[in-house]
């Protein structure tokens, strides 16, 4: 029992889970034995009808003391030994590992590969080969934690730390920041994609988004960086003050700073505020909060941001779309076969975050041989997962909730999923065994 650990996606995970479950079994055994004995004594030797009965004056017994000192010591040595041995293999140096630089900064992760490819909050690795992440941070302490790989290491500013693992299962895994680092510590997630060898090579050399960025006009590049570099966490586009000043109608304004001198927000001022924000703090705004971007952004990116800010003169209403991966995706779902379309929908329409394929339970029921499954609903009536049931569960999930599951699924209206999409999904679910 008590088996809630996430899926084992790295080579060392089964060994860690073996040790984890060993400790669980020992702990449960001793807890049951000791608390059972306590309850039994409390009942067996209870004070009957208000009068204390005869009790022996047993002050102790050296034999028992020796036993329950030696036995726990042996168990502890056994557990400690394996704890250290498994850790030693985790941190051992692996010769031909894929080396990736992961830089943590306040509220996002930047990854850089050896061939210069840079990604933001997302990175891919080949399955089966050891991977070494070299962690560093540009501002405060962060920590890189991939539950499925059972690895975690702090990203400490001012020094390098490293974590290494060998993925054994393809798929998409979430990674968290686990060292408190301020406002959006809980939003600092990154996605790890474990791809087969060939697909990984194609992904590694697919520099389309960088080419796209090169072809982009400065304003578009500025808008992309505004979202990617996390400016949106503190600077709004609609005039509202989050933490830093809003960018709306900022260009050309008079800016009075704490140090007493005033500037007009021209290109030079904006450029300096982006690269070295702590020199001049506008009155009324917290100092020491904005990260220093010098060395993070190249000249072209700074010009793009400045151009983007200049373009926010309130004339054209700016709809801030969050950069959705789907739009950029090369694949157009309508061209795929129903099964492939279903699989693509599963991976890109967030079904994956709640429904697993391997039978384990996340938030929703697993899709493993789900088609045709029968069972009880929350309101006690039975259900059979046929076409109408699945369609209704997508359009209006609240109607029929399977017993024991939380009604947490969002409805997928016509805007998100067309009827063909659903047909594809159903076809694909039939193949999921």
């Amino acid at each position: 029992m008590f088996r809630y650990l996430p899926e084992q996606a790295s080579e060392v995970a089964p060994r860690i889970d073996w040790l984890h479950n060993l400790i669980t079994d020992i702990s449960v055994f001793f807890t049951v034995v000791i608390c059972g004995a306590m309850l039994y004594f409390a009942f067996r030797y209870r004070k009957r009808d208000g009068v204390d009965h005869e009790t022996p004056q047993i002050r102790g017994s050296n034999l028992l003391e020796v036993i329950w000192t030696v036995v726990p010591t042996i168990i502890c040595c056994y557990i400690a030994y394996y704890g250290v041995m498994i850790y030693k293999d985790m941190v051992a140096f692996k010769k031909d590992a894929v080396v990736i630089n992961a830089v943590g900064r306040q509220w996002a992760w930047d990854f850089e590969y050896e061939n210069g490819k840079k990604t933001n909050n997302e990175f891919a690795v080949p399955v089966g080969k050891p991977v070494k992440l070299i962690l560093s941070s540009t501002d405060v302490l962060h920590s890189f934690f991939i539950p499925a790989m059972r690895v975690k290491k702090d990203a400490v500013p001012g020094m390098f730390t490293s974590l290494s693992f060998t993925p054994v299962k393809t798929g998409e895994y979430t990674s968290f920041c686990t060292e408190y680092c301020g406002k959006d510590h809980s939003a600092m997630l990154a996605t790890l994609k474990v791809l087969p060898e060939a697909e990984y090579e194609r992904w590694l050399n697919d520099r389309t988004d960088e080419l796209l960025a090169a072809a982009m006009s400065p304003v578009e590049l500025g808008k992309k960086l505004y979202a990617e570099k996390g400016c949106n966490a503190c600077h709004s586009l609609d005039g509202a003050k989050i933490i830093g000043p809003s960018f709306l109608k900022l260009y050309g304004q008079e800016r009075e700073c704490e140090s007493g001198n005033t500037f007009t927000a021209d290109e030079e001022y904006l450029r300096d505020s982006i690269l070295n924000p702590r020199h001049e703090i506008v009155k009324g705004y917290p100092a020491q909060l904005m990260p220093v971007f010098e060395g993070q952004l190249d000249e072209r990116e700074v010009k793009g941001l400045v151009a983007f800010i200049r373009s926010l003169d309130g004339s054209a209403p700016v709809v801030e779309e969050v950069a959705q991966e789907e739009e950029v995706a090369v694949v157009d779902p309508s061209t795929l076969s129903p099964e492939e379309r279903g699989k693509w929908i599963y991976e890109n329409k967030l079904c994956i975050t709640c429904h697993t394929l391997d039978g384990s339970r996340l938030v929703g029921p697993s899709f493993k041989n789900a088609y045709g499954r029968q069972g009880k609903l929350a309101d006690g009536s039975d259900y059979e997962a046929n076409d109408e049931y699945i369609t209704e569960s997508l359009r209006n999930p609240g109607a029929k909730v399977v017993e024991g599951y939380a009604p947490a699924m969002p409805p997928y209206g016509a805007g998100q999923l067309s009827d063909d999409d659903i047909a594809g999904l159903i076809a694909w679910m039939k193949t999921v065994k």
Partner: protein
């Protein structure tokens, strides 16, 4: 109150000893003195300082006439201080940082590792 009255002679001897040791420690340094112990200068300086500190503690602070319980609370903090430094110094000098081959940890080949007979 039965306690031995310290005659002042002992204190004078201790004062002289401390003075001499101070002069020695100054001369034993490469900056003001002439002896250059190189990397050992820290150790030499600390030994001389500890001898001086011992003299002050035992004689001036009457540790000589103290019972065991006072001694415990003199030794224990010094042990804790050494422990704190030891803890920091088994960490900082041995950090492998970018995961270069750690001298202590042998290189694990990529292929399936024989992991001590369990699955």
């Amino acid at each position: 109150m039965a306690h031995d009255t310290h005659d002042d002679g002992i204190y004078l001897k201790i004062l002289v000893a401390l003075g001499v040791l101070t002069v020695i420690t100054v001369l034993a340094s490469s900056k003001a003195g002439f002896a250059d112990f190189g990397t050992w200068s820290l150790a030499v300086a600390m030994i001389i300082a500890s001898v001086k500190a011992g003299l002050v503690a035992v004689h001036f602070m009457h540790l000589k006439t103290e019972r065991l319980d006072t001694w415990i609370y003199v030794i224990f903090p010094v042990v804790l201080l050494v422990l704190m430094m030891a803890g920091v110094f088994i960490d900082n000098p041995f950090r492998t940082g970018t995961g270069q081959p750690d001298p202590g940890v042998e290189v694990a080949a990529v292929e399936k590792h024989d992991n001590h007979g369990h699955h």
